[in-house]
């Protein structure tokens, strides 16, 4: 397996599980022009991310995310893409599109607290009642 690490805006650190296992692999980040327009990003937000990226061993790309990732995969001779899981629908859509032509491994984040799948999320108080037992065991 020769992975390309896709670093996206929800997980900019090398110690995260998705990247930590592949520290020697090429890594890329893509500024997606369509996203920047749709979400009306201001320059200061771009600059903040850019400064984070400059401290990481990552190639900074721009354009259509799926297309740039495909091109990067070819250029680096990689046979799969690894990335971090996130609830962000845009990133989830990109992952689905990538899966049309390559293998994508999506590593879960370190959980803040491990809760039963059936945890009641209707209000914070209900969630906290259960989270508290795990975070502050008596």
């Amino acid at each position: 397996m020769k992975p390309l690490v896709w670093v996206h805006e929800d997980c900019l650190r090398q110690e995260a599980p998705y990247w930590n296992q592949h520290r020697e692999a090429p890594a890329v980040f893509v500024f997606d022009d369509e996203q920047l327009e749709q979400e009306e990003w201001t320059l200061k937000r771009i600059a903040f991310l850019y400064e984070c990226l400059l401290e990481l061993p990552v190639e900074i790309l721009r354009g259509d995310t799926v297309e740039q990732l495909r091109l990067a995969q070819q250029a680096y001779g990689c046979d799969c893409i690894v990335t971090a899981d996130t609830p962000e629908p845009r990133i989830r859509r990109v992952i689905e599109a990538l899966r049309q032509h390559t293998r994508v491994e999506v590593a879960p984040e370190e959980p803040f607290v491990e809760l039963d799948d059936r945890v009641d999320l209707r209000r914070f108080a209900r969630y906290w009642k259960q989270a508290q037992l795990k975070l502050f065991p008596q």
């Binding site: 805006e9 929800d10 997980c11 900019l12 650190r13 110690e15 995260a16 692999a25 090429p26 890594a27 890329v28 920047l36 327009e37 979400e39 009306e40 990003w41 201001t42 320059l43 200061k44 937000r45 771009i46 600059a47 903040f48 991310l49 400064e51 984070c52 990226l53 400059l54 401290e55 061993p57 990552v58 190639e59 900074i60 790309l61 721009r62 354009g63 740039q68 091109l71 990067a72 070819q74 250029a75 680096y76 001779g77 971090a84 609830p87 962000e88 629908p89 989830r92 984040e109 370190e110 959980p111 803040f112 607290v113 945890v119 999320l121 914070f124 969630y127 906290w128 975070l135 502050f136």
Partner: protein, 292 residues
């Protein structure tokens, strides 16, 4: 904005791998800058449309080293009783946490290591848990965080609220010293204290009767920690479309937690829309069937 721009910093610190094959079509951006001004100029050229919305950098800098610098002095025990004050012991970690520059679990561990008993860090851990909670809901609802999760509990229907924000609000030119200062701070720095976010959101939704979605879009444009999970669901919490009752405040509350920074010099002093008891404001803002 010029303030905060460091001079002569060498910004490049890490080197990525080189591609094996010629990389036709790969649109690489530059990684070497001799100063923050040079970075700003480069980004203005590369991203002209975002630069039309605003072209300056925030005094808050990105990067792991900055995140560590913000993490080092945290005081979770003091946080518990000062966090509601604008000058309280809040951490400024949100832009780094939001982009995963540091893990929420690591922030929690550092907080717990700073206190004699875990209980002393519990208020801080509860706030971290809010982020986890909103993200779990985002995982379930996705784009659904843009829809009213429940009806407004203000006595007004969603159709009673305006679709868009008055321009003076975004520009910070309404004449209300507090709200204008918050709007300008948001645009200049991309950060607002939690209490300021709550006041601004309550003012937009309950006083100006504008849909929370318009306010949420405004915040997301500017916030360095801008995140549809925490942002939209907090707006919904204030609006009452994801809570049992609307959040609102009065002038006395704002004056207390800002330590009088705005009220004294406000052009609308004496004619403040936030003046009054909670009961009076409740009667003014909401239709009568709503409980206080």
């Amino acid at each position: 904005m010029e303030a905060g721009l460091g001079r002569g910093d060498l910004l490049q610190r890490a080197v990525p791998a080189e591609p094996q094959k010629p990389a036709d079509g790969l649109r690489k951006l530059k990684r070497e800058f001799s100063s923050r001004e040079e970075l700003a100029r480069y980004l203005q050229e590369q991203f002209p449309r975002p630069a039309q919305r605003d072209a300056h950098l925030s005094p808050i800098r990105g990067g792991r080293s900055q995140a560590e610098a913000a993490l080092a002095p945290i005081q979770p025990a003091r946080y518990a009783f000062t966090r509601n004050y604008l000058d309280g012991c809040v951490t400024g970690l949100s832009p780094y946490i939001r982009h995963g520059v540091i893990a929420l679990t690591r922030v929690r561990e550092v907080a717990l290591s700073r206190v004699a008993h875990p209980f002393h860090a519990s208020k801080f851990v509860v706030e971290l848990a809010w982020r986890d909670y909103w993200r779990r809901l985002y995982g379930l609802w996705g784009q659904g965080v843009w829809q009213d999760r429940e009806p407004y509990k203000t006595g007004w229907a969603a159709s009673d609220y305006a679709e868009s924000l008055p321009v003076e609000v975004e520009q910070g030119r309404t004449g209300l010293a507090c709200m204008d200062a918050f709007a300008r701070q948001l645009a200049e720095t991309g950060y607002l204290h939690n209490h300021a976010r709550m006041w601004v959101a309550a003012w937009v939704v309950h006083w100006l009767r504008v849909k929370w979605q318009a306010g949420a879009r405004w915040f997301l444009k500017h916030l360095l920690d801008g995140d549809p999970a925490s942002n939209n669901l907090s707006w919904q919490w204030v609006a009452s479309t994801f809570s049992h009752k609307p959040y609102f405040f009065n002038r006395e509350n704002l004056e207390k937690y800002t330590r009088g920074a705005y009220c004294q010099k406000c052009p609308q002093r004496g004619d403040c829309p936030f003046e009054g008891s909670y009961e009076e404001l409740h009667r003014k803002l909401f239709r009568s069937q709503v409980e206080g």
